[in-house]
């Protein structure tokens, strides 16, 4: 999957080996190439306009979602092509769903919809207490049979990982198996990565970059609404200007 093809950017392949050493094999980084790097650069650049920000964020999200879907199970199958020849293909398995963490996780919903038209999508709203900074779940709505599904959990920015840890706890309360969770993420700090792989060793994580600075302006810039509107901005955006 991911790490097999990093032909165009050799420098990155060594990095992804390091990643496996530090964080274990369940954390994967989107194969980096110049193109991905450019998207990340644009998203981090403070001079990027909102319109550009959303445009390029959506592109990066699409790539991350496509790569996340590669973590889903599939089975072999043979189909007949219009030329009459046989093609040895793969079939996706049913029984998946998406779960987005409000608000910035919802930015990734469209990307998922663009790949899986009728997938079910649940939501979790996690807010942090203004005084204690402790994350707590305010709202959660899932498909009834979520415990039997693979869950694609979407959240673009992780700086401490607290919000996501809380969300996963909720999923587990709903009897979702840890190994059935795939976390889709754009930007992750080493701290968050470490605490997540430690807390949930069986969960798969896909991110596009591990970097000590998280672009915390993501939700605000993507949606164009400043903090105090909806929960998660106050949570991880404490230091943001």
């Amino acid at each position: 999957m991911g790490s097999t093809e990093v032909t165009s950017v050799p420098k990155k392949s060594s990095e992804s080996n390091d990643v496996a050493d530090v964080y274990g094999s369940n954390l994967k980084i989107l194969p980096c190439n110049n193109q991905v790097k450019e998207l990340q650069t644009i998203l981090r650049d403070k001079n990027t306009t909102r319109s550009d920000f959303k445009f390029y964020a959506d592109r990066l999200i699409r790539l991350v979602i496509e790569e996340s879907l590669n973590q889903l199970p599939f089975s072999k199958c043979v189909v007949t092509t219009p030329t009459g020849a046989k093609y040895n293909g793969l079939k996706y398995q049913k029984g998946n769903c998406g779960v987005s963490i409000v608000r910035s996780g919802e930015a990734m919903e469209q990307g998922l919809r663009d790949c899986c038209r009728s997938i079910r999508i649940g939501k979790i709203l996690v807010e942090s207490d203004a005084d204690t900074h402790e994350a707590k779940v305010v709202y959660a709505k899932f498909p009834d049979d979520i415990s039997e599904r693979k869950v694609l959990l979407m959240y673009p920015i992780m700086s401490t990982g607290n919000t996501v840890i809380k969300a996963i706890a909720v999923l587990k309360e709903h009897n979702v198996l840890e190994e059935n969770i795939i976390l889709s993420n754009l930007f992750c700090t080493p701290i968050a990565a470490k605490s997540l792989v430690t807390a949930f060793p069986q969960m798969k994580i896909l991110t596009s970059e591990i970097h000590s600075i998280a672009p915390n302006h993501f939700g605000q810039k993507y949606f164009g609404c400043s903090r105090f509107i909806v929960g998660e901005t106050t949570n991880i955006q404490g230091k943001d200007i």
């Binding site: 592109r59 790569e67 599939f74 663009d114």
Partner: protein
């Protein structure tokens, strides 16, 4: 000397017959050739009535679109078109020859095959045009470019203009021609490149603001009164024909032409003839006869001479070789894949998407949805192959971030009709406001060769990185032609990215061999091409499945 009376427009060419639609053709053709000086109008064939292979689709490109829906004009422009005589059909007693698709003008390695240049020289009204027409007719090669020296008259200043009005300006003197421009034009044509030929207006004695776009062809015929005058031009002619018609006959023709067709008076014509045309003929034109390989007495009526010329040209063309597709399909078996091939990583998603779109049971709704997903991945991957440069940006978090930026924003897409157009949306989705050009290439059902019919490219395409799109590549014949077109428009080879969903190995080899610096991007590589040039196991005809135009009897 004034314009030739019946000078048909450059990219005339011989091809299939059919006289039945002649009348309509006539009008249509004039309009489009006359009005649009943009690129490639010349590649287009007439809008209506042409016996084009409408149905069986070219398997490799899948790209086909009927050009007939375009441009139904009602206004008549025939008045102006007479002046500039921009007509792209030839008519003779037996048949009509019109601009058909342009067949390959390069060999199987994608390299230019030098066109065969026939220079025709002769006095005014000696029948050069008739000879040229007859040669084109009997040659029966699909693509001939006819270049007339009349296009290269110099622009007259006020004084000269007045002289011309008094029939005192000498149009028969070598100084009346812009030989420098002529030289470069012919040279470029010989290299198979695109040229802008000026359109000379004999009323204003100026070049019109628009130009005529022409392309090199298998055969270029270059005719005029002083075609052998310039040494460099003379060297470029592979065959030199002098049309030698008796002076009386020429004068008679000229009188008839100028008086009845150009509304001039007898006095003026005779004055011009005796003071300039005739002296110039003896002084400048007649001596050029020594350069000729063949002298054709009596002009167009001399069938034996024309037959000889045609035979020689045929032999020459055969030596240069133009049979492509078959050659392409059968070489390179078992060779290692070229390094210019960039295959998308074989992930379960990509494999799964291929499973959907290859399955003949897949409904069109799903076919479109999943092919779009796949296309997006291919395009994203292709973009990563463009040049990037290091940049450092400031983040809202107050930290500098070392990143990358595309080294150029001059990126354009070019889709090969029709299947390539399915990829346009994805390119627009990833590159804001990108320009997209189009190329229509169809397979000639008789020869099995690809032919170029239509072309629209961004201006200054030479400065762009070009993402060339076709959904599937089988033999690569269409892709090679498209790349050749881009190179002829001065796009650098390394600036071309050929992007496709599915390619056959042999096609990849052919393209990589012909154009080693073109980057080839695809999401899957199939091993075989069948005898109908379909890829196996393949996808079927991508365009048909996407647009829902499969022949109803596809079952088997």
């Amino acid at each position: 000397m004034a314009a030739k009376m019946q000078h048909f427009d450059p990219p005339s060419s011989a091809s299939s017959e059919s006289d039945d639609t002649e009348v309509c053709l006539d009008e249509k053709e004039i309009f489009l050739a006359d009005e649009l000086c943009e690129d490639a109008e010349h590649y287009r064939r007439s809008d209506i009535g042409t016996p084009t292979p409408q149905s069986p689709r070219p398997p490799s490109t899948g790209s086909q679109r009927s050009p007939r829906s375009r441009r139904q004009r009602t206004t008549s422009l025939s008045q102006s078109s007479k002046k500039t005589s921009a007509e792209s059909i030839l008519r003779s007693k037996t048949r009509t020859i019109y601009t058909a698709g342009r067949p390959p003008w390069y060999n199987s390695a994608g390299q230019q095959v030098e066109p065969f240049v026939i220079g025709i020289c002769g006095g005014s009204a000696s029948g050069k045009t008739t000879v040229a027409t007859k040669i084109i007719e009997s040659l029966d090669v699909p693509w001939v470019t006819l270049l007339s020296m009349d296009s290269f008259y110099k622009v007259l200043n006020e004084k000269q203009h007045e002289m011309a009005a008094r029939n005192e300006y000498n149009f028969d003197h070598p100084d009346a021609f812009d030989f420098e421009l002529l030289k470069t034009t012919l040279q470029r044509l010989k290299e198979g490149r695109m040229v802008e030929v000026p359109i000379y207006n004999f009323v204003t004695h100026r070049r019109e603001s628009r130009t005529k776009t022409m392309y090199g062809a298998n055969v270029i015929i270059f005719e005029g009164i002083l075609t052998f005058y310039n040494v460099d031009v003379l060297k470029m002619c592979d065959m030199k024909v002098f049309v030698d018609t008796d002076a009386d006959v020429r004068l008679a023709r000229r009188l008839r032409r100028d008086i009845s067709q150009r509304g001039r008076d007898l006095e003026g014509v005779l004055k011009q003839y005796s003071t300039m045309v005739q002296p110039a003929f003896y002084y400048y034109i007649a001596p050029l006869m020594v350069h000729a390989d063949i002298i054709v007495p009596r002009g167009g009526d001399n069938e034996v001479a024309i037959e000889l010329i045609v035979q020689h040209v045929h032999t020459q063309l055969q030596l240069r070789g133009f049979k492509l597709r078959e050659k392409l399909a059968h070489s390179y078996i078992g060779q290692p894949l070229p390094s210019s091939l960039y295959l998308l990583p074989d992930t379960p998603q990509i494999k799964g998407l291929h499973t959907f779109i290859r399955n003949k049971e897949t409904y069109r709704d799903e076919f479109i949805f999943y092919s779009k997903r796949l296309i997006r991945l291919v395009i994203e991957y292709a973009l990563s192959l463009l040049p990037f440069e290091d940049v450092t940006v400031e983040t809202p978090q107050g930290v500098l971030y070392p990143g990358k930026r595309a080294a150029t924003d001059k990126i354009c897409g070019v889709s090969i009709l029709r299947a390539g157009e399915t990829m346009e949306q994805a390119v627009r989705d990833v590159c804001k406001d990108i320009r997209i050009g189009k190329i229509l290439i169809q397979t000639n059902q008789q020869t099995g060769e690809p032919e170029l019919y239509y072309l629209r490219l961004p201006k200054d395409i030479k400065d762009y990185k070009v993402i060339l799109m076709d959904a599937t590549v089988a033999t690569g014949a269409a892709a090679i032609m498209a790349i050749r077109v881009l190179l002829d428009h001065d796009v650098a080879e390394e600036n071309v990215l050929l992007v496709s969903l599915l390619m056959a190995e042999s096609g990849v080899h052919s393209i990589a061999y012909a154009f080693p610096r073109v980057k080839i991007v695809t999401s899957a590589l199939d091993p075989v091409i069948n005898e109908k040039f379909y890829v196996l196991p393949g996808i079927g005809n991508f365009g048909d499945r996407y647009f829902g135009t499969e022949p109803s009897s596809i079952e088997d």
